[in-house]
Symmetry: C2
Subunit: 110 residues, 2 copies
């Protein structure tokens, strides 16, 4: 994506959204999924992702489960009950934000 700055603030919501669709995911998997879904437009860096996951966990929105696959560590994250509720809320806010921006960009429509 040209202006990476614009996605500031939406990373947590993206993570929550993916977890609402996938039951459980691990960090690296999330970065690959986002890259695939956005056709390479959006690249989540590790320096942003891992702190974000830790924060969501600390807030009680995610649970972690460590696994070992092919002798490599994986940390699977899944939504808690509270996380599921919060996801609905955050997605609504993101949708509202997008509509607000479209309204600003194109006041004639909307």
């Amino acid at each position: 994506m040209g202006n990476q700055k614009l996605y500031k603030g939406s990373l947590q919501t993206i993570i929550l959204k993916l977890l609402s669709e996938n039951e459980k995911m691990y960090g690296y998997e999330i970065t690959q999924k986002v890259k695939a879904l956005t056709k390479g437009e959006l690249k989540i860096t590790e320096g942003a992702l891992y702190p974000a996951l830790h924060k969501l966990e600390a807030e009680g929105l995610l649970d972690v489960e460590v696994a070992k696959v092919d002798n490599r560590l994986r940390k699977y994250y899944k939504l808690t009950e509270s996380g599921t509720k919060e996801t609905v809320h955050r997605l609504a806010q993101l949708d509202e934000f997008i509509q607000t921006m479209q309204h600003l960009l194109n006041p004639k429509l909307a």
Copy 2:
């Protein structure tokens, strides 16, 4: 707007867009215009606005013209030639960002 965090990074683009439609505007006017256009959803704070205007000016995208109206100071900003070009670019990026986000939120469509 519920999640004010989301609009982080888009303030400069909003300013540029408004100036591309209005020839010249002053700071306070911009805050009021945004409030009106978004029906109160988005409130630009002075602590964000003025530094942003100064930065855009420092980057050569805006020109300033000081005026005195009703014995009160006003600083009118307008796009420079370079600012006009940059506005097109930033709006395209914002549009791309919005589409990317919609793609993430609703992978079935788009």
